[in-house]
């Protein structure tokens, strides 16, 4: 059987290709329909999860200074390992819907202000204790404490009070928030015994794997938790291992050499080469991450919306996408959200490169002289090249851009959110409301475009409390329009998470929420015998 057919039938088995398409492709390869059908059923048989074995991932994004405490979890390796040993209240499905985990059901009062989560009975922690509503409240308390160092502190600030009522956790918010359940899917909110107040670094939760090896910056290991509440549904491998490989070439070589079964962060420029390696499959999925050019709306010359518009129109997004991401992404529309978000407004017109119109707006703004743009390699891979390409497309509109390349050290403390025009990245948030609230309302800590409009804040707030989905969608369309036409944000593109899996790895289901199947690759994949 040719490699291509094998590949195609596997895709059908994992739901990435439909049957009819498969038969069509098989016919094109000169295979009879009967034989193609046999292939399919073989693949489907093979597609049943194989239990046991050791699944290994080689991941970028781990340091020897990392700790297991989910509150301080910022890098990719800890994120992925956290999904192996941690269990959450709810989880984000690949289609953007929510799946109840420790929370058996989630409901709210009519005004979306009081939320009730029923805690599933009989879930066991790795230390043998049973998950109780008290543990859930303690976890949320630890992360939302004003003194907390938790990265989830920001999203939990809306909580007014929490209480346990039988097997339910009742949470009262300061303001209505229809997205509250989504916030509980934040990957920092791993439910720990007594909320991790006793030992946040113990690595004990109720996830499919128990922590066996914890060598920060080197490797992590887990073995299947015998009493995992979902049993065999996920967690097919008997052992999982994460090897920290920060060097891109070493990571690729480890996958090619078979030392690991899957890797994250394949660089766009080598994707085509990696694709050709026998047995290796590139797993790319459009995510919510984007690479913005940020302008301070309250600082001259960017306080002029004409100038901002000129700078937006002078960006050749297609060219940037092609040259910086090699096409592995999607052009942006100067709003911080895309179709990976629930309720994304699809009716917005795509902004296009228009040097003439840009020149017109530029003239109208009355600005003269060059504009200083700060960039650095750490802003995102290819950020320096992106700035240079942008400089050239601006020149076509008669706008002079001066580029200052800043050192990577201290870029996030000295340049980003401090200087009026710079490059950055955003990893995306679970919901549109989260994204706007995190960076684009007046009171946001990370308002890195200094976009401060009371009426815009009101629109975001109103959409947050609206439980009617259709009305909400319309509201997000209006919000996006304001952002796109008046905001200080230029979005060249949204990136893709590009991972790769090696020979024999089955069960991969891409998830736009995050890389590596939303962090679950080690739990949901298996090694075909």
């Amino acid at each position: 059987m040719s490699n291509e057919l094998e590949f195609l039938s596997r895709r059908v088995a994992t739901g990435q290709l439909n049957r009819r398409d498969f038969l069509g492709r098989a016919a094109a390869l000169g295979i009879s329909a009967a034989f193609a059908n046999t292939l399919l059923s073989d693949a489907a048989k093979a597609a049943g999860p194989v239990k046991g074995g050791t699944l290994k991932a080689g991941l970028q994004g781990g340091e020897s200074s990392n700790v297991l405490d989910p509150a301080l979890n910022l890098s990719q390796v800890n994120f992925n390992f956290g999904k192996c040993w941690g269990e959450m209240l709810v989880e984000l499905n690949p289609d953007g819907s929510l799946e109840n985990r420790i929370a058996e059901s989630v409901g709210s009062s009519d005004d979306a202000k009081v939320w009730t989560m029923k805690i599933r009975k009989g879930i066991e922690f790795h230390n043998g204790k049973t998950v109780s509503p008290q543990d859930v409240v303690a976890t949320l308390e630890r992360h939302s404490d004003a003194k907390s160092k938790s990265a989830a502190l920001g999203i939990l600030q809306g909580i007014d009070k929490m209480a346990v009522n039988g097997d339910e956790v009742v949470i009262t918010l300061k303001d209505p928030n229809a997205d509250f359940p989504y916030l509980m899917a934040d990957y920092h909110l791993v439910i720990q015994p007594n909320g991790g107040k006793d030992d946040p670094n113990a690595g004990i939760s109720a996830g499919p794997y128990k922590v066996t090896v914890n060598e920060p910056g080197v490797r992590y290991g887990g073995e299947k938790f015998a009493n995992y509440w979902l049993g065999d549904k996920i967690g097919h491998a008997a052992q999982v291992e994460i090897i920290v490989i920060n060097d891109a070439t070493a990571r690729t070589a480890a996958l090619q050499g078979g030392q690991v079964n899957m890797i994250n962060r394949v660089e766009p420029k080598i994707v085509d080469l990696v694709k050709r390696v026998p047995g290796v499959t590139i797993q790319a999925v459009s995510g919510k991450g984007f690479y913005p050019f940020n302008m301070f709306c309250d600082t001259a010359p960017f306080d002029s919306n004409d100038l901002r518009m000129a700078l937006k129109l002078a960006m050749d997004r297609e060219e940037l996408l092609e040259k910086i991401l090699r096409g592995y992404g999607k052009v942006g529309n100067d709003i911080p959200v895309n179709e990976a978000y629930p309720l994304f407004p699809t009716d917005l017109e795509q902004r296009k490169f228009d040097p003439e119109k840009a020149a017109e707006f530029y003239k109208k703004s009355g600005h003269s002289g060059s504009i200083l743009l700060r960039t650095s390699d750490v802003a995102f891979p290819g950020a320096v090249d992106a700035a240079q390409l942008y400089q050239q497309s601006c020149a076509k509109a008669g706008i002079k851009i001066e580029i200052k390349r800043e050192p990577g050290d201290g870029y996030w403390s000295e340049v980003w959110n401090k200087q009026p025009f710079s490059l950055s990245y955003w990893g995306g948030r679970p919901t549109q409301d989260q994204m706007y609230s995190t960076a684009y309302i007046s009171s946001a800590d990370w308002n890195d475009t200094r976009f401060k409009r009371p009426e815009f804040d009101k629109m975001v707030l109103a959409a947050r409390g609206e439980l009617d989905q259709d009305k909400r969608k319309k509201m997000y369309s209006d919000i996006a329009t304001v952002m796109r036409d008046e905001g200080g944000l230029i979005v060249p593109f949204f990136n893709q998470y590009i991972d790769a899996s090696g020979k024999g790895v089955e069960g991969w289901v891409s998830n736009p929420a995050q890389e590596m199947c939303g962090g679950y690759a080690l739990s949901i994949c298996w090694l075909a015998a």
């Binding site: 020897s64 060598e215 070493a250």
Partner: protein, 319 residues
């Protein structure tokens, strides 16, 4: 051994300690000038003013720099390297395993490269300006001229990806069987050997050739000694001082200069540990690792000095 030599050695050691102290001050100042601070680096792009303030308070970053420095120095003198600011781990125990890994790799790289370099150097002298000499020098210089990351990638490409003889990533862990461990470090040790080989080989060759110009070598030749005898008995002992010097320099490099090789082969040694913590502005760790590196460097140089003194009769028997 005369007392003057002991005095010389004592002087060297005292100087070394003074140097170490100076280095610790320099490292501290260096980490202070870097932009950003630990709290900012730990929390990264997603830091808020409150969480920054909380973390700074918890880490004791609000004290003046000199107080933090002396607090740390006092700890080191009593054998306590402190805890890492970023992870709260005990530095001494965290460094222990990594230092052992680094020394393990350096030892095997040295065990291969030093004898190899000296033997090749001797061979080059024996057949100087001939084909063998040119071949040895040419290959050694070529391997040195290639940047180590390139050598590393070449080794990975052929030995790990194409032929799959050795693993391309050298993850080692406690309780790993010795043979497996050796297999894991085969490629990084080879890369390091290729990097340091030429320097030692060329210096051996040059030092012996220098001695070979002397009148007593001519005498030895006239006595009818074989070329190898002459090199072994008359030339090499007189060339030991410069050779030891360059060997020590390269040994030091094998321990403190292996960051790139460690990164390529994902080897859990000191270099990677240091780099991670520099990025986090974790001053106690940077200080501790810097101090260990400085101590290694200074000790090895001291040994080279002392060896040079002992190898030189004029220094051994001063008038």
């Amino acid at each position: 051994m005369s007392s003057s030599i002991l005095k010389l050695i004592a002087q060297r050691i005292a100087l070394g300690l003074l140097l170490l102290f100076a280095v610790s001050v320099l490292i501290f100042i260096g980490t202070q000038i870097l932009p950003g601070d630990v709290a900012q680096s730990i929390l990264g792009q997603s830091a808020t003013a409150e969480s920054l303030a909380n973390l700074r308070e918890a880490l004791g970053l609000n004290d003046p720099a000199y107080i933090r420095y002396f607090r740390w120095l006092g700890g080191v003198l009593t054998g306590n390297l402190g805890t890492a600011l970023s992870s709260g781990q005990d530095i001494a125990s965290a460094i222990g395993g990594r230092l052992w890994n680094t020394l393990f790799l350096a030892f095997w790289a040295a065990a291969v490269s030093v004898p190899l370099a000296i033997v090749l150097g001797l061979l080059a002298v024996r057949y100087r300006n001939g084909f063998v000499d040119k071949l040895i020098s040419g290959l050694a210089l070529a391997s040195t001229s290639l940047p180590e990351f390139f050598i590393g990638y070449l080794l990975v490409y052929f030995f790990a990806v194409q032929w799959q003889i050795f693993p391309g990533i050298s993850t080692v862990y406690d309780g790993m069987p010795f043979l497996e461990r050796m297999k894991a470090i085969a490629l990084p040790a080879t890369a390091l050997t290729l990097v340091v080989l030429a320097h030692m080989m060329r210096m051996t060759r040059a030092a012996i050739l220098n001695v070979m110009q002397s009148a007593y070598i001519e005498t030895a030749e006239l006595k009818g000694l074989s070329p190898f005898e002459i090199i072994r008995k008359h030339a090499f002992p007189n060339a030991i001082a410069p050779v030891v010097n360059v060997v020590m320099l390269n040994l030091a490099y094998l321990i403190v200069g292996v960051v790139v090789v460690e990164v390529i082969f994902v080897y859990p040694g000191m270099g990677q540990y240091l780099v991670d913590h520099v990025a986090k502005r974790d001053v106690p760790v940077v200080q501790a690792v810097g101090l260990i590196f400085a101590a290694v460097y200074i000790t090895l140089n001291m040994i080279a000095d002392i060896a040079a003194i002992l190898a030189n009769p004029r220094l051994r028997h001063p008038k």
